[in-house]
Symmetry: C2
Subunit: 342 residues, 2 copies
């Protein structure tokens, strides 16, 4: 079974190379860190022994999710927060899983400008993660990457995700504190409500607050929060609204203050522990689902997905019956495999 | 095993009620159709016998995916296409899985205006699907909904998805023809490239073509297509670019012409069959994965996800080892269950 979550990793052990890599990363070496994140993204065979070695070093980094529709200023706000935290002498990691973020897509047109602000600062690590790929990929990879940043002693990790889409919302929900960005005009508050991101918000930032409709956006948001019921998942926490102009840095200190206040509340209410357990639960489930999905693709011809798909497309069976067969085959194969090995 | 994809459905048979529902839907009754789609969304126990009854009636509806970032005019274009197809006397279904679409979120602020254009037309069926929920939910539900629309004899089904996010891209890829919408300005073509939606496009529509930067957007797009390699999945098909102004209907007839041309190519190249097989494959896998994920949540305490998550959070084991245990437990439980029944 050990060969599933990372192919052929069953026999892999921690070589002195990966051992050195972990050691260097734990002392804050950014290149070693980048290499480890790549191993995670690529599901390298070395991934398993590395994660095994890292498991006891559970982290203390605070995870802050930033989400919102394209164009609200997520990347600029991320950049402003990085600066603010650096001024407080905190080490900051950034993981961008937003396909429209310059942190992510920078390679395409060389718009890595903001990244270069911090290119020589060893207290900042910026990394993009591919938001597509196999099932469970991102949901499985992001917590592993967080663990590596923890190892390297980062105080704060910012996860930037675009606030539309199922996978992205799931990732936002992995954070200790989720900041939802809204821009004035365009009915963004309303769109956010539709997209279900109001519910994931611990803090709202109305960015571009120098625009004429900013006050209206704040009012809309306040009304919408008032309309909504008290979230049973956040008893005692009412999401504050902060007005920011990320391009000038206005309101960013207030934003970090609110994030600190939320962190205090998380710790005192026991909610922090609950969120970390939830993150671990989703992580384990995502890896297991990914492993099972890969097995589906590896079944012998005749039993496999291709033949079932052909029969479904031909109208010979329905998709539920096909799925039952698939699950049954997986389980039986697995059992014979285990019996054979026993 | 039969109880997994839809809880307690193992014993469910086609009652005369659901039988009547299918019969009414097959004669184009929109209320019966809406009821069937609700049963799919809610994973009703009746779902399985219904899908079993529907399996032999494989469909001929053409599935057209519309995708693009929020604000490019997807809903307006969808509306314009509905009108155009109605003029050609084709029956049109619309499935909106875009959280920012007025078709989807309409209930919130009553902006169901565009829907009401067709409220009394029995040749139009518009339906939103929740874009969040349990794993595999949308990927499993959308093809079922397509099958029901097929049953009801719709000629064309438009699926509107927001072009950001993993799940949404997967859905776009289920279509026979995928139209990617771009709006001039805002570097949308570039953002689209980053988000990976260039690769899923069979046809590009540069909407809001009356804007000054429209010609530039078309040029950018052309360059980007030229830069990209010929897609090995689409030998012989070069995605055309259509300029549209969806609000006035300009270019919409040309768009339907290109969609027809792509359909002809799909049929003559054998690509249509390949896509339908692919859709069936993803559908079966999504249902199977959903069933396995639900089993994970139902394991007895001590074996289950909660306990594993606790151990991972405490640093006692790593997430991969936990996932292995989870998969192992699932398989063993399953085997005892089967042995017990045998």
């Amino acid at each position: 079974m050990a060969d599933d979550a990372a192919p052929d990793a069953g026999a892999a052990v921690l070589t002195s190379d990966t051992d050195r890599l972990i050691d260097r990363a734990s002392r804050g070496d950014l290149r070693a860190l980048a290499r480890l994140v790549s191993l995670i993204e690529n599901e390298s065979p070395e991934l398993r022994p590395i994660m095994r070695a890292l498991a006891p070093r559970t982290g203390s980094a605070r995870v802050i999710g930033l989400t919102g529709a394209p164009g609200v200023g997520k990347s600029t706000t991320t950049g402003a927060l990085v600066k603010a935290y650096r001024r407080q002498d905190r080490r900051v990691g950034v993981i961008a899983v937003d396909p429209s973020s310059p942190f992510t897509g920078g390679a395409l047109l060389g718009d890595r400008i903001r990244m270069q602000d911090h290119a020589t600062d060893p207290g900042v690590f910026i990394r993009s993660m591919a938001s597509r790929g196999h099932l469970g990929g991102l949901a499985a990879a992001t917590p592993q990457a967080l663990r590596v940043l923890d190892l390297a002693g980062f105080d704060v990790v910012l996860i930037e995700t675009v606030g539309v889409g199922q996978a992205e919302l799931e990732i936002a929900s992995l954070a200790d504190t989720t900041v939802v960005l809204i821009a004035p005009g365009m009915g963004d508050a309303i769109q956010a409500a539709k997209a279900g991101i109001l519910e994931v918000a611990d803090i709202f930032a109305v960015n571009k607050a120098d625009r004429p409709q900013a006050q209206q956006a704040v009012r809309d948001l306040r009304n919408m929060i008032a309309l909504g019921q008290q979230d049973p998942e956040r008893p005692g926490w009412k999401p504050p609204i902060v007005s920011t102009v990320a391009t000038t840095g206005e309101g960013i200190v207030e934003l970090t203050d609110k994030i600190d206040a939320h962190w205090s509340w998380l710790s005192s209410s026991g909610e922090r522990e609950r969120r970390r357990l939830n993150r671990a639960r989703e992580e384990v489930a995502a890896i297991a689902v990914g492993a099972l999905r890969r097995r589906m693709g590896r079944l012998p011809e005749g039993d496999g997905l291709d033949e079932l798909a052909r029969r479904v497309a031909a109208g010979e069976i329905d998709a539920y019956a096909a799925a039952d067969q698939l699950v049954g085959t997986l389980v039986t194969q697995e059992h014979s495999g285990r019996a054979g090995r026993a």
